[in-house]
């Protein structure tokens, strides 16, 4: 496929020039996927797809336009490219716009083992079997598991080819596999709680066993049964690893170039300043082999990098693509991300909080009375001010022990203060996603309930 895409991309760049573009980029993406779902032991859904799209960005001087199409007929595509160039002529000339300095493009890039060479796409019957095993383990875990939203196995494969008119050209392939289960527990009063757990990797062999996925999902549903509301209070809050990772995502978003040059970030002008407790070091590393957020080159065709975003509590860098770097008079950090038909933006690659030395049990034991958060819902994070207020659920801690489940409460604070108040960091970092964290403890937040 890549050979086909290479000649298509090069043809598209030539066409853009012929239509009057002074510079251009072409991105070809082809993907196939399979999703297989079971519910209560029976097949519930099978979904398969094949897609191929081409994305373009064309420049006429400092003015640009982006476009995407699934149209591959050369005559149709020629007309499409010409219209895109016409759109670019109508855009405003932007002094920061343009391709990266050609000297910055890598001549070669590493093989990051993004594709599983031992497995192709998982076949439907095998995918259904894996999903069935996960759900069976969940349903069999406890008689109070009485219903299920099912279990699903997904398998995907994609190829990317990217080229620009300054001579950069590169491509890579990737795979992904994931398995999730969502059993429902019910108590004697009829109240229901869902539990969800999933495993995902680029390499099939790194997935958790289906039985383990099901058992964890069941445990998570069961421990929510009987959840109650609590009185409004201020108390320490312990975030489980997945919930802690959501805090890292908020920081990465505020540290990304586009938020900063728009003035829409609470981290504006904070480079080199203390933004977190001294025990906090957050890395962004797009070069890790086989990880979900890795890629050999970014959406501008520059090498991805490894760096500390926050070093010992100090904001050490921003996350920048070429455009936002120019706006901020800085250099790109190789964090350009782009959709097929979009201009590049900046985002984290593999983002993780460096683990500490406490076990999660020690962290919980350090809390006299406080909250262990395992669920967060809603969008109550204000990136401009750092104000934070989200719906929460989890377990109440009494005298260092998980005492009872709680729900219908919120936790609130401000991200600036919350990161300064990270008191303990766990040793339990696991590579479950592109953004991961160990367990963390924040010394105090407002918990709203009754």
């Amino acid at each position: 496929m890549t050979q086909v895409d290479r000649s298509l991309a090069e043809w598209a760049l030539d066409e853009a020039r012929r239509a009057g573009a002074s510079a251009a980029e072409a991105l070809c993406v082809s993907a196939e996927s399979l999703a297989a779902g079971v519910r209560l032991g029976e097949v519930e859904k099978l979904k398969s797809s094949r897609e191929r799209r081409i994305g373009l960005r064309v420049f006429v001087g400092q003015a640009s336009a982006t476009a995407a199409t699934a149209e591959f007929d050369r005559d149709g595509l020629r007309e499409f490219i010409a219209h895109t160039v016409t759109m670019a002529r109508l855009a405003a000339a932007d002094p920061a716009a343009g391709l990266p300095d050609p000297a910055l493009h890598p001549k070669e890039f590493p093989d990051l083992e993004l594709a599983d060479s031992t497995r192709g796409m998982v076949r439907a019957d095998e995918a259904l079997d894996l999903a069935r095993r996960a759900e069976r383990a969940a349903l069999g875990a406890d008689p109070r598991i009485r219903n299920s939203e099912g279990a699903e196995f997904d398998s995907g494969r994609y190829e990317i080819f990217f080229a620009n008119s300054n001579g950069f050209a590169g491509g890579y392939a990737g795979t992904s596999f994931s398995l999730g289960a969502a059993p429902i527990a019910q108590d004697e009063n009829g109240a229901m709680q869902q539990g969800f757990w999933h495993t995902a990797s680029r390499h099939f062999r790194n997935l958790e066993e289906p039985e383990a996925v099901g058992a964890t999902a069941a445990k998570r549903a069961l421990r929510r049964l009987g959840a109650r509301k609590i009185k409004t209070t201020r108390a320490p809050v312990v975030f489980d690893p997945d919930m802690a990772a959501s805090l890292l995502r908020s920081v990465a978003g505020a540290a990304s170039g586009p938020s900063l040059y728009k003035g829409a970030s609470f981290l504006l002008n904070k480079l080199g300043e203390r933004i977190a407790a001294p025990n906090v070091t957050i890395h962004d590393d797009g070069t890790l082999k086989g990880m979900l957020g890795s890629k050999p080159f970014d959406g501008d065709g520059l090498l991805t990098s490894r760096k500390a975003l926050v070093k010992d509590g100090v904001l050490a860098t921003y996350l920048l693509d070429t455009y936002s770097a120019r706006k901020l008079k800085l250099a790109s950090t190789g964090n350009a991300a782009r959709g097929v038909g979009d201009a590049p933006t900046a985002s984290s690659t593999n983002l993780y909080l460096e683990p500490g030395s406490s076990t999660p049990e020690q962290i919980i034991r350090s809390v006299k009375r406080g909250l262990y958060v395992t669920e967060l819902i809603g969008f109550g994070v204000n990136a401009v001010t750092g104000d934070y207020s989200r719906g929460a659920g989890g377990l109440w801690i009494e005298d260092g022990e998980l005492a009872y489940p709680v729900q219908e409460i919120t936790i609130a604070g401000n991200l600036r203060e919350m990161f300064q108040a990270i008191e303990m960091i766990g040793d339990d970092l696991r590579w479950r996603a592109a953004v991961v964290s160990p367990t963390i403890k924040i010394s105090e937040m407002t918990i709203a309930g009754e």
Partner: protein
């Protein structure tokens, strides 16, 4: 193209070289095993976007996407396959992949006969869509927005404005012989601003649109209203004090705060969750779930609305469904599969994001009918509480019924008066319980301005909400001031 606009069905037949006998063969192949139902969904979507930042219209984009999805349903199982290559061969391959869901071979296959054209509503027969307006004219509006916002107050430091327009042609062909086709225009204008007074920085935003023509944004000074709202929200929040924490009386303003209904009620009444018995509302039809002041409907038939459709994405004409009538739960939102399995009638709520997705029960425009109180009476009735007039997003846990929605503009009510602005805070409640606490319903029902997008199972679809001013006698407000 002009003729295709009149007859979307012809567009697909001509463009992809299809005909009715080809549909019949492919649907017949899809049903070759023991399946109940199959359908084909053709889509062609073209979209253009313009964006302004730092007083420059420096972002322009366009996209064209087309494809076909083949679905096979057997009892409660769904097989789905799609391709962005719309050819007979590809569709046959997709039909073979999709029918794998039905495992036994069937006896005699009833032949599929296609030709029953579905009568659709005419809710958005536009003379022209904004895509036909010259790009330069669209860009000019964004520059005018920038000028107006910056001139409004010296504390406005940055303005972002965008205009997005699309035109979607769809056609559904079913194994029951129905053909439904539609042209679905949609557009949205958005304004967001950053205000800075040297001490703090705040964002404000407002937008709107629908299945409307370009002139819509100029009627009643509409685009200027958007700018005024965005600027007001940012400036008000500069002076906001910390929000209170805990349970209190909350008055929701009219219009967009109807997102409460979407999260607290709407999702929990979607047919799929109730067929599976996993919703906090499962099995509760006929029971009281709200105060008798509350009547809530979902209506996909309101002209030019963002959440409206002439036919849903399974070819069923949309309708008005009463969800709660005077406090009593009356109905669910259904697509064809869940309606069939629950032995209910489809309600025209089978929707999908694109040809790459299988349809599910989804909301259209969800709102509460007006009551009799004036908004002033409602505010005056509150000794101490929160008055929330604008919201960001919301979310719900279907199974335990807990939902949140986050205020982006809110004020304290003290002794019957709206006083200081407070910082945004998340409100959390229980779906089957929250409307039982509604003690006053205003006479000022308004629908939102046309900005809603709902996400479910990875699929986004445009929706609308609406609400009169209401008083809720207790809901948890997630501020920082304990």
């Amino acid at each position: 193209m002009a003729n295709d606009l009149v007859q979307p069905e012809k567009f697909f037949l001509n463009r992809f070289g299809m005909n009715e006998s080809a549909f019949e063969r492919i649907l017949g192949s899809a049903l070759e095993r023991k399946a109940d139902y199959a359908d084909l969904y053709f889509e062609h979507r073209s979209a253009e976007g313009l964006g302004l930042e730092e007083s420059m219209v420096n972002h322009t984009s366009k996209s064209v996407a087309h494809g076909v999805g083949v679905r096979v349903c057997a009892e409660d199982r769904t097989g789905y396959a799609y391709s962005d290559e719309v050819t007979i061969d590809r569709m046959r391959m997709a039909a073979e992949a999709a029918r794998a869901i039905a495992d036994q071979r069937s006896g005699a296959i009833a032949p599929v006969a296609v030709g029953n054209r579905v009568a659709r509503h005419e809710l958005y027969a536009l003379e022209s869509t904004p895509l036909e307006i010259p790009l330069e004219e669209r860009a000019r509006l964004l520059r005018q927005i920038d000028e107006m916002a910056r001139a409004a107050d010296p504390r406005i430091r940055n303005v972002m404005a965008s205009f997005a327009a699309e035109r979607k042609l769809v056609m559904v062909v079913t194994s029951e012989g129905r053909i439904a086709a539609d042209i679905q225009p949609l557009c949205r204008l958005n304004v967001s601003v950053i205000a800075d007074d040297g001490k703090s920085r705040q964002a404000g935003s407002f937008g709107g649109g629908g299945r409307v023509e370009w002139k819509y944004f100029f009627e009643n000074d509409r685009w200027r209203e958007y700018v005024r709202h965005a600027v007001h929200q940012a400036l008000i929040n500069l002076d906001a004090v910390d929000a209170p924490a805990g349970e209190m009386v909350v008055v929701l303003g009219n219009g967009w705060p109807g997102i409460l209904l979407h999260e607290a009620i709407g999702h929990g009444l979607e047919g799929d969750f109730n067929r599976k018995g996993v919703s906090a509302f499962s099995g509760r039809i006929g029971q009281r779930v709200a105060s008798e002041l509350c009547t809530v409907v979902d209506d996909g038939t309101i002209a030019n609305r963002r959440g409206s459709l002439n036919v849903d994405d399974e070819g069923t004409p949309t309708s008005r469904t009463v969800l709660i009538e005077n406090g009593v739960l009356r109905g669910y939102l259904q697509d064809r599969m869940n309606a069939r399995l629950m032995k209910m009638a489809p309600t025209g709520n089978g929707r999908r994001e694109s040809f790459a997705h299988s349809p599910m029960p989804r909301m259209t425009n969800t709102f509460m009918l007006a009551g009799e109180a004036t908004p002033e009476e409602i505010i005056k009735s509150v000794k101490r509480g929160l008055y929330a007039v604008s919201f960001g997003g919301g979310q719900v846990d279907i199974t335990n019924g807990k939902f949140v929605f986050s205020a982006s503009e809110a004020y304290l009510i003290e002794d019957g008066q709206v006083t200081r602005p407070v910082k945004g805070a998340t409100l959390i409640g229980d779906g089957p319980d929250v409307l039982t606490r509604v003690s006053m319903v205003g006479d000022d029902l308004a629908l939102d301005s046309g900005i809603g997008t709902c996400g479910k199972d990875g699929q986004s679809v445009p929706v609308g909400v609406g609400l009169p001013t209401i008083r809720i006698d207790g809901i948890t407000v997630g501020g920082t001031r304990a």
